[in-house]
């Protein structure tokens, strides 16, 4: 692989990693507060749909983004209702919401647009346009001619949609909120020992809803990016398991923001490679495309199996806070 191809693959990795990273940070907030969320997938999907739908109708990507966040927040609210208020099973709630998203997006898309469960293709204005950093080249032809540094700058660093840069910014921001603010302290505490938070006079329910809400906002951004940044419109099941992979990345990252960045970049890279190359010839054997497609999932299983070191989840994670039986 020559330098420019490598850059292109890395460039693509960064784009693929972005929704993973935002969703992963979303999960981080929720799970640090003790609410497991396998519904990241569904929230992203719902957000992807509504953002594309609204962007298509209004022609504004910003209204689309808002709508996407709204859809995701609605799902968060249901998850919160089920797992916080009614102390239901968080896994079942997540699974149900994933199905709900898978079904309702297509049903409504068909009802609104009658395009087979898709939204119309988004035109400029309805999408996140690439941001060209000062001095960067834009067209492939120019970049191909340029020197390596310029190639690196123009191909990899410049020319991404706003959410890509925002996602990278969310990482230090998440770290700061969790470890340097009062809210962060309480959030971490409620995921470890909700009874300690409760007896300290802080509302467990309020904190957990706040965390689930942040999770919703972030998933909304992730989903909106998928439909209005990475692609130009919504298609059925377009999240394609990204929510689950984000979850695996979260475990891989041991619920820490910086590690999450690394994990998501890795998964993004795998996806970029799988998308770009069909059968990969390793000389000795040819790796079939199905293996490449399945690689992120296989890797997830390996990570979950703890072959990369044991991950200890937040202690109260997954359990409803029950005071009175």
């Amino acid at each position: 692989m020559d330098f420019l191809t490598t850059l292109q693959v890395l460039d693509s990795s960064l784009r693929q990693a972005t929704p993973l990273l935002i969703a992963c940070l979303a999960g981080l907030f929720s799970e640090r507060a003790g609410i497991f969320d396998i519904g990241l997938e569904g929230k992203m999907l719902a957000a992807a749909f509504l953002s594309a739908a609204i962007a298509a109708v209004t022609g504004s990507v910003w209204l689309g983004l808002l709508a996407g966040i709204g859809a995701s927040l609605l799902f968060s609210a249901i998850h919160g209702l089920a797992s916080i208020t009614f102390r239901g099973n968080q896994l079942i709630s997540g699974v149900a919401l994933n199905f709900l998203a898978a079904g309702i997006t297509v049903v409504i898309a068909q009802a609104w647009f009658a395009e087979g469960g898709r939204t119309p293709q988004l035109m400029a204005g309805g999408r996140f346009e690439p941001i060209v950093l000062p001095g960067a080249l834009t067209t492939s032809a120019e970049i191909a001619e340029a020197g390596p540094l310029m190639q690196l700058y123009s191909e990899l660093i410049s020319g991404h949609g706003l959410p890509v840069y925002a996602a990278l910014l969310f990482v230090p921001l998440t770290w700061w909120v969790l470890f340097r603010t009062r809210f962060g302290l309480r959030l971490r505490a409620v995921g470890e020992a909700p009874e300690a938070v409760d007896t300290a006079g802080i509302s467990v329910i309020g904190l957990r809803f706040a965390a689930v809400g942040i999770c919703g906002v972030l998933c909304g951004i992730a989903g909106a990016y998928l439909a209005t940044g990475l692609q130009a419109g919504f298609t059925k099941d377009m999240t394609a398991g990204r929510g689950y992979i984000a979850l695996a990345a979260l475990i891989f990252a041991k619920w820490r923001p910086w590690y999450a960045l690394m994990a998501c970049l890795l998964f993004g890279f795998l996806q970029a490679v799988a998308i770009r190359f069909q059968n990969i010839d390793l000389g000795v054997i040819e790796v079939p495309v199905q293996v490449m497609d399945a690689l992120p999932y296989i890797l997830t299983v390996i990570i979950l199996a703890g072959f990369v070191g044991r991950a200890i989840p937040p202690r109260a994670g997954g359990q409803p806070y029950v005071k009175e039986r």
């Binding site: 470890f179 340097r180 603010t181 009062r182 809210f183 962060g184 302290l185 309480r186 971490r188 505490a189 470890e192 020992a193 009874e195 300690a196 938070v197 409760d198 007896t199 300290a200 006079g201 802080i202 509302s203 202690r315 005071k323 009175e324 039986r325």
Partner: protein, 516 residues
């Protein structure tokens, strides 16, 4: 009296589903006093105090603080009313530092740094004032329970509590640590603070409280001045009738050695040494009692003997070694060797709460010939057997079809005992046989254990109740920090000596305690 009470509760009632935990309770506590609350397990003491602290919400009733009617819908309100509480089970964030735990919920601003700095200097002041020194940067996971309790007290004081509630604070402490705690409480009382102390130990009540309330089955049966009462009177108030505490038994006649335990060691997955070279023997026809403060390795010992914890070392039953590596060390193979086990926690381990009584009667023995037919369970046989056992152990109601959770604690324990004792084991392991069981049932259970001994069986009794150990055991081993500190004969020792052993001190021949 003219003085206004610091706390006055009026007609507090609270139900948890079908369980009426508090029924129309009224109580007054004067400022600057220590007020004790006693009552059997499940009497509703913790519930009442949790209501005062805003942890639960009462169904009915009023709370008056310093003469003002106060709504306490949550703990925040209790804290602002000057109430602090140290719960029976600590409410600490295990992987936070002491400082973070103290600050949690009492931060000054949105940013953490300034709060932490202020708390650090404040803690130093409090530590000096009340002999409550702790390392502010230690992580809770790494410090002992005694230390954790100090953190809880510091939390309350940091929030400016004038009224301090302590729920069974000495349950997890050694006698020496308990003494230290009481000195602290005396100091707080001199400062003018009001203290409510829940405990099961009549001696503590007599030693430190000014007034005492007795609870029974959700009701407040009496409140008296400590100086005007006596332990026997309090015991009677607690159970509602005269109590006979001594167990009738004849001296043991030990026969052949049943079990020989040598050099047992356990290290858990966090790398903590839970058992350190434990060795002992038990002979047929004797009861070996293991005394110790909870959490010093007794549970692990029972788990190893019962076959569901791995260990190194050796255990021989009638001279035959059994596997401890986890390969074949399951409960089923232990039972096949004639070991029966009444676990410490009947609801978590001893019973399947959602199984009916008859299903529970077969639990652990479901592979027995009598209970099976091929791959199937012989349900009719089990039911019949269960009826007999319920009859003999006076389980009420004697209905095999009721689920375990619908029996009261004492009756649940009887079901477990019936199952294990009637299986006629060579060795019976018993953990905390009377925890949460009322006095009547205690007498019955003690009699059954002694009867089994007299049939020539070996019994290992683990209990945190020194009275129970002293009354039942033929020999007493004391555990501290995963070790057996020493063995004593019940008629040649007393609570004081055992207490020192429980704290990790050995008594040298000269009589002066030494650190182990």
């Amino acid at each position: 009296m003219s003085q206004t009470p610091a706390i006055e509760l009026k007609g507090i009632s609270k139900a948890f589903g079908p369980v009426q935990a508090n029924k129309d309770i009224s109580i007054r506590v004067m400022p600057g006093t220590i007020h004790g609350i006693i009552g059997e397990n499940g009497a509703g003491k913790s519930t009442l105090m949790s209501i005062l602290y805003g942890f639960y919400k009462a169904d009915k009733g009023e709370i008056w603080i310093n003469g003002k009617k106060t709504e306490i819908p949550d703990s925040q309100a209790a804290i602002s009313a000057g109430i602090g509480m140290v719960f029976q089970h600590f409410k600490l964030v295990q992987n936070f530092t002491v400082l973070e735990n103290v600050v949690l919920g009492a931060e000054d601003s949105g940013l953490l740094r300034p709060s932490l700095t202020r708390a650090r200097s404040e803690l130093k002041k409090l530590a000096e004032e009340y002999e409550l020194s702790v390392d502010p940067d230690a992580v809770i996971d790494d410090i002992g329970v005694g230390m954790q309790q100090r953190v809880e007290i510091l939390k309350a004081l940091y929030r400016g509590a004038d009224i301090l509630i302590l729920d069974e604070p000495t349950g997890v402490l050694t006698p020496a640590e308990a003494d230290h705690l009481f000195r602290i409480l005396e100091g707080l009382k001199r400062e003018g603070k009001t203290i409510i102390l829940i405990t099961h130990k009549l001696r503590e009540i007599m030693d430190i409280t000014d007034t005492v309330s007795v609870m029974r089955r959700g009701e407040m049966t009496a409140t008296v001045k400590t100086a005007d009462t006596s332990p026997p009177e309090l015991a009677e108030l607690m159970v509602g009738r005269k109590v006979l505490l001594r167990v009738e038994k004849t001296p043991a006649r030990p026969k052949e050695k049943i079990i020989e335990v040598r050099d047992l060691n356990i290290t858990d997955d966090k790398g903590v040494h839970r058992l350190k070279g434990v060795s002992f023997d038990i002979h047929a026809g004797e009861i070996l009692g293991i005394a110790g403060v909870a959490g010093n390795g007794q549970s692990e010992l029972l788990e190893v003997l019962g076959g569901y914890e791995k260990a190194t070392g050796s255990i021989k039953i009638r001279g035959e070694a059994i596997d401890l590596t986890g390969g074949k060390s399951d409960g089923a193979s232990r039972r096949a060797r004639g070991i029966s086990h009444v676990p410490e926690d009947r609801q978590r381990e001893g019973l399947i709460m959602d199984y009916s009584a008859w299903e529970n009667i077969a639990f652990g023995y479901h592979h027995d010939e009598a209970y099976r037919s091929g791959p199937f369970m012989n349900n009719a046989a089990i039911r019949a057997d269960c009826e007999g056992k319920m009859q003999r152990f006076d389980v009420r109601p004697p209905d095999p079809n009721l689920t375990a959770k619908s029996f009261s604690g004492g009756n649940q324990q009887k079901i477990v005992l019936a199952r294990e004792i009637e299986h006629n084991p060579d060795l019976l392991l018993v953990g905390q046989p009377t925890r949460g069981v009322d006095i009547g049932a205690i007498e019955f259970i003690h009699q059954e254990i002694v009867a089994l001994r007299d049939k020539g069986k070996a019994i290992l009794l683990v209990s945190v109740e020194l009275d129970e150990i002293l009354g039942l055991a033929d020999r007493i081993a004391v555990m501290f920090d995963g070790r057996i500190m020493g063995e004593r004969l019940p008629d040649q020792t007393d609570e004081k000596e055992l207490g020192l052993l429980m704290a990790g001190m050995t008594t040298a021949p000269g009589g002066t305690p030494q650190e182990a």
